[in-house]
């Protein structure tokens, strides 16, 4: 058997099963299948090194990876798709922080995931979700969606609105166990309009506030007035760190000034201070640092 034949047989081993109709059956999706993202070329960014200190790391907004596919404009805090920067692989178990804008009437066609905790947070507009577990839902600003991909799930995400973009955060966290049963959940945050408080939107516990995931992680959001100062105490113990992402405005974290869409990771601390230098919106992601 020559090499090409060998390869063909190898792929057919997967492909024959894959084309047997199972893939089409797992999700009844009336959305036109979209072409996969075209390769834009590997986006190495050698001149934007992360500012890594003893127990902090600063990622300025403009140093993130960027890909504009026309229908999708995405900024990647960590290496993703065609953006590869060995210095930007993850913050602990936080692996993906994508800041996505999807044009009106466009979206992600049906695609698979496995073994990842995937959290979506809409910042503007609505996003329709369909998955192979039969869930059809729309998430809006003020909602949080979570998927444990586990052994495998197919889903699509689509901006049904014909005249409004969707802006949303796509956050992926390594699970603390592989091959769990896939699950989907979404909630509307009751406290989304509360001011000057860090409110929990995610935890490891199903009976706690917000959504839950298979990981020792806690996420908080805050809508802060200028001058408001607070302290965040880590919940997960010494092995955890916190990645602060500024959604709007300017804040200072432990003396580090941050602007809109800057990211700042801090670890080996029990608590830290956060001050709003202007009207600000922040997302705090506390995660285990050991991957």
């Amino acid at each position: 058997m020559n090499r090409k034949q060998f390869l063909r047989n190898s792929l057919l081993g997967a492909g024959a099963l894959a084309t047997s109709g199972v893939a089409k059956a797992v999700i009844d999706n009336n959305i036109d299948e979209l072409k996969p993202l075209e390769i834009l070329g590997f986006n190495h960014i050698p001149n934007t090194k992360s500012n890594i200190m003893a127990n902090t790391v600063l990622h300025k907004a403009e140093s993130r990876g960027h890909a504009n596919h026309g229908w999708l404009n995405s900024h990647h805090t960590f290496s993703f798709a065609n953006y590869y920067n060995p210095e930007r692989m993850h913050f602990g178990v936080l692996r993906v922080l994508n800041d996505d804008t999807v044009e009106a009437g466009m979206g992600f066609g049906t695609h698979p995931h496995d073994n990842m905790e995937i959290i979506s947070i809409p910042l503007e507009g609505d996003l329709e979700h369909k998955d192979s577990m039969g869930n059809i839902a729309t998430i809006r600003q003020g909602d949080v969606q979570v998927m444990s991909a586990g052994t495998g799930i197919y889903h699509s995400e689509y901006n049904r609105n014909k005249d409004q973009r969707v802006k949303f955060l796509q956050i992926w966290v390594f699970p603390n166990k592989r091959n769990v049963t896939p699950r989907y959940d979404q909630i509307t945050l009751k406290t989304a309009d509360e001011k000057n408080k860090l409110f929990q939107i995610l935890s490891p516990n199903s009976d706690d506030e917000g959504v839950w995931i298979h990981q020792n992680a806690w996420f908080h959001m805050g809508n802060l007035d200028a001058g408001f100062e607070t302290e965040y105490q880590l919940k997960g113990g010494a092995g955890n760190g916190v990645y602060v992402f500024v959604l709007d405005g300017e804040v200072t974290v432990e003396g580090q000034k941050l602007d809109k869409r800057d990211g700042f990771g801090i670890w080996n601390v029990e608590r830290f201070t956060l001050k709003a230098d202007s009207q600000a919106r922040v997302l705090l992601m506390e995660v285990p640092m050991n991957v």
Partner: protein, 119 residues
Amino acid sequence: MDQKIQVLVIGRHPEIMQTVTELINKTEDWEATGALSDETAIEYYQKRRFDVVLIGGGVEPESEAKLRAIFTFQNPLIRIVQHYGGGSGLLFAEIKNALLKQAEGKDTLVENPYPDTSL
């Protein structure tokens, strides 16, 4: 001589396997071979040279441990990494990082994100 980077993908989910192999094959100079069972993976590994092995979703811990032992015994320099996300945006970074570490000759030959797991 074939200079393409050869990637062996092991998984249990046929559709995800197809997505992963297609994505890898779309990258110039990369070539994927998919295996849905341990036996097939071992057979391919013994017949061909691979640069990177991706352990995909659904592979049981016992299988993973067995495959890692066999593969590293046969080629101590092989990079074995767990693939997360199922043909997702992580795929390229996982392979590129594995190749980078291989080129740097890092001592840690096997990527295991769960240090407390005995492999």
